[in-house]
């Protein structure tokens, strides 16, 4: 098993959970360690319960893991909720003035800090947090120097006095721990690697800029708002117009307007906002103006659980907008992939002049991951397809009458697209069914032959899209006892579940699906044909992917693992479910989330 270490910090919203989280993440990545952070929180600005878990290790950390090594409860509620999760070897650092520990399991080290003796709590309201950071890093075997550096950066703007005070408080915690507590058995290692730490939302935004997005608009909606924030903060530098619009209907239509005029345009939302956008997607498909829309899923239906994760929008995406039209749907498989997938889907959307949909979720959007800066390379391939701009473009096609036809019927279904402003290519793009010239069929007294020809022209693009996308690949040993099929964000946790199973003598592999449309059903069937026992793992109630796979391929797996309590899978959830299914106890497992957040 890989060496990992997880620290969890919990408290009420407003108690300052985020700052220690950021400080730990910085110190760990500067040590050359990977991190993966997941924050379980509520839709509340002050109060409630927030629980941040940062897991680190010398190798890539793909998920929040199963074990907490160090718990830092900032209030009694956090202590009460989570002390029982700690096992032998773990430690809990807490403010002895205000928090009672309860009874821990054997081998759990209680580390009470006499906060009022170590710091002036009348002046420093978050002294307990800073003391705990110092104490925690001592137990983890990290020297004081890195903490001093990060705190200095953190408080630099507030002046030297504030820096000095915080460093002094942290040092008091560090030294108190050295004198009174036992360090962890394995001190955190160090490597020469350097990693960037980013959320999926930042990765999606950066991927957009790398793809050449010049227009981004949005209506704030958790958990997608981080994309808007990054875009807005970097708009001037990157030359991106960022607009906050009155609603998601306005968002999609404004993005399509900008795209129609020649920009690469993108927008992000969550399930509810996406629902409002669906008519707009039909327009994108009908007027053949590409646009990229990101749905960062949260638990639904309706307002749902705004701060919790789910993979419950697949069928919404598959069915969004009425009528048949070509679309592309991709589900990034981790935070680094959020960056990669955006330029890829833009190229497909541009080449095939159709909407490109990205199905992300809260787990990736708001989670954080260490990424090698080399994997954030902006020098990505850009293919705008058959676009005619003032600067030129492909020939306008075989103009039988010597005129430009925007919706020229071609073998590929793709018609050269001129943007407004180009002389000699004047045309109207219509959401009504139209002929090759863009003339409304209703203006020519509905013509079944033309309607059929236009439907077939548009739908011929599906074959091209199919060819542009790679099928999924099996990860792990070929002839495994069990094959776990997942899509999007579950890739990391399934991978770790496979490792756990392997240690317990069960060989497991994984088929992670990244392109949902086109699904590449034939390739998937080919792979699954050779598998012994297949289980579909997904974060929703009804098995949306299982139903989709079945509808496209008639494939029925041996079992299902589903979770719909708002929290992501932990590796042991999947490993235990696999075991009960291999033992023949059930073919549908719904693991219980033990952490009460």
């Amino acid at each position: 098993m890989k060496q990992t270490f997880a620290v969890s910090i919990g408290g009420a919203a407003g108690q300052g959970v985020a700052t220690p989280g950021d400080v730990f993440a910085k110190i760990l990545t500067r040590r050359g360690l990977h991190v993966n952070a997941y924050n379980a929180y509520q839709s509340i600005i002050r109060g409630g319960h927030t629980f941040l878990t940062i897991r680190t290790g010398p190798e890539k950390v793909t998920n929040m893991g199963d074990r907490i090594d160090l718990l830092i409860p900032l209030n009694q509620d956090t202590m009460n909720r989570h002390l029982g999760l700690l096992g032998s070897g773990a430690a809990v650092i807490y403010n002895a003035d205000t928090i009672q520990p309860g009874i821990p399991a054997d081998g759990v080290q209680l580390c009470p800090l006499p906060v009022s003796q170590l710091a002036d709590i009348t002046r420093n309201k978050v002294a307990q947090n800073t003391l705990a950071m110092g104490a925690g890093l001592n137990l983890m075997g990290v020297g004081f120097q890195p903490l001093e550096e990060v705190l200095t950066e953190q408080f630099k703007k507030k002046g030297e006095a504030v820096v000095n005070e915080n460093v002094a408080v942290a040092r008091a915690g560090y030294e108190f721990a050295a004198a009174h507590f036992k360090p962890f058995l394995n001190p955190l290692p160090m490597t020469d690697n350097r990693y960037a730490v980013l959320s999926g939302n930042v990765a999606l935004a950066m991927g957009g800029v790398a793809a050449g997005v010049k227009f981004y608009c949005a209506y704030p909606m958790s958990p997608s708002t981080g994309v808007l924030h990054w875009m807005a903060a970097h708009a001037r530098k990157a030359g991106v117009i960022v607009r906050q619009v009155e609603d998601e209907i306005g968002v999609i239509n404004m993005a399509i307007g900008a795209a129609h005029a020649g920009c690469r345009a993108m927008c992000a939302t969550s399930g509810g906002g996406f629902a409002l956008m669906s008519e707009g997607l039909g327009m994108s498909a009908m007027i053949e103006t590409p646009v990229v829309v990101i749905n960062c899923q949260r638990a639904g239906p309706s307002t749902g659980v705004p701060t919790k994760t789910e993979q419950g929008d697949l069928w919404q995406m598959l069915g969004a907008a009425f009528g048949d039209y070509p679309r592309v749907i991709a589900a990034p498989t981790d935070i680094a992939d959020c960056f990669k997938i955006i330029p890829e889907i833009f190229n497909i959307a541009d080449r095939f002049q159709c909407p490109g949909l990205v199905l992300c979720d809260l787990l990736l959007s708001e989670g954080r991951l260490s990424v090698d800066p080399k994997d954030l390379d902006f020098n990505v391939p850009i293919d705008r397809g058959e676009l005619i701009t003032a600067a030129g473009g492909p020939p306008s096609g075989p103009d039988r009458d010597g005129i430009y036809k925007r919706y020229l019927i071609t073998e590929s279904g793709v018609s050269p697209r001129a943007i407004p402003g180009v002389p000699g290519h004047v045309h109207t793009a219509a959401t009504d069914e139209h002929d090759e010239n863009g003339v409304l069929l209703s203006d020519e007294y509905t013509n079944p032959a033309k309607r059929r020809a236009m439907m077939e022209k548009r739908m011929r693009k599906v074959a091209g899209i199919e060819a542009a996308v790679k099928p999924p690949e099996l990860i792990g040993p070929r002839n495994a006892d069990v094959t776990l099929i997942g899509w999007g964000s579950t890739k990391g946790v399934i991978q770790e579940a496979c490792e756990i199973l392997h240690e317990q003598g069960i060989s497991a592999n994984q088929l992670p699906v990244r392109w949902l449309v086109p699904l590449k059903g034939d390739a998937i069937l080919d792979i699954l044909k050779g598998c012994q026992h297949t289980i579909i793992v997904e974060n929703n109630y009804s098995g949306q992917f299982a139903r989709y796979l079945r509808s496209e391929t008639s494939y029925v797996p041996d079992g299902y693992i589903r979770k719909y309590d708002g929290e992501p899978f932990m590796p042991h959830h999947i490993a235990e479910a696999v075991k009960e299914q291999l033992a023949g106890k059930t073919n549908l497992s719904v693991p219980r989330h033990e952490i009460m957040v």
């Binding site: 009155e246 968002v251 020649g262 407004p420």
Partner: protein, 299 residues
Amino acid sequence: MATTAEVSRPLTLADLKGKVDPDWCPGCGDFGVLAALQKALVELQIPQHNVVTISGIGCSSNLPGYINTYGMHTLHGRTLAVATGVKLANHDLTVVVTGGDGDGFGIGGNHFIHTMRRNVDLLYIVMDNQIYGLTTGQTSPTSQLGMKTKSMPFGNIEAPLNPIALALAAGATFVARGFSGEQKHLTELIKEGIQHKGFSFLDAFSPCVTYNHDNTYQWFRPRVKKLEDEPAYDSANWYAAMEKAQLWGEEIPIGKFFERTDIPSLHGAEPVLAQGGPLAHRSLRLPAEMSRGFAEELL
């Protein structure tokens, strides 16, 4: 087949003739609005490839198909959002948005308000016939009280919206009303609206000869009074405009109610557009050191 004016010769009305003839009912007010728009573009000599005519859905929204400029026939009510995107992406384009009262004040009401607030530089012509035509005659947001339609056969009990007052309140920087039966006057308003650097709203009475038997040409003709005929009227005075906007019945003012030129349009205020030309013409690639900088922020 429509011809295409090149830079070398002046734009003519023939150039602006669409690929097909309008299929509006004979006598429809929309013919007059289309003709006035075509005349205005010829008088202003804006090359047709630099004009985008954008509409929503409804009888009047079929207009982009009948004029030979770049055109978009978008979704019901969503025109102004689409048009905002077009204008921000390429502010060199002249954007003319056309639609009906149901499209703009009903289903598109939210976008109407916010686009005015943003002062997007475009001309929005609403062909206001106070009825839903293409759906065969239902009450619209501007249908008068008591008006009997298929959806309110016992008479409309909802007060009509006042588009001029709403536009003034929402911050439109050019607010005017025209009448399809007053061609020259309407053409001048369209020209002014296109030239205004900001959001221009033009409510154009465009009688529906099939479904609205109350607000007919005959009904409007004796009632409409041109503001231009009142020498004392000051269209820079917002309060005076708001007062005039309240008139309805025996006297209905048409003309330019209000114009202000002291606030920038949305694209004029957008810092990203302060230098470098239209967004749509810019390179998709960023300088390598800038992209490296974005990644380094995260280290």
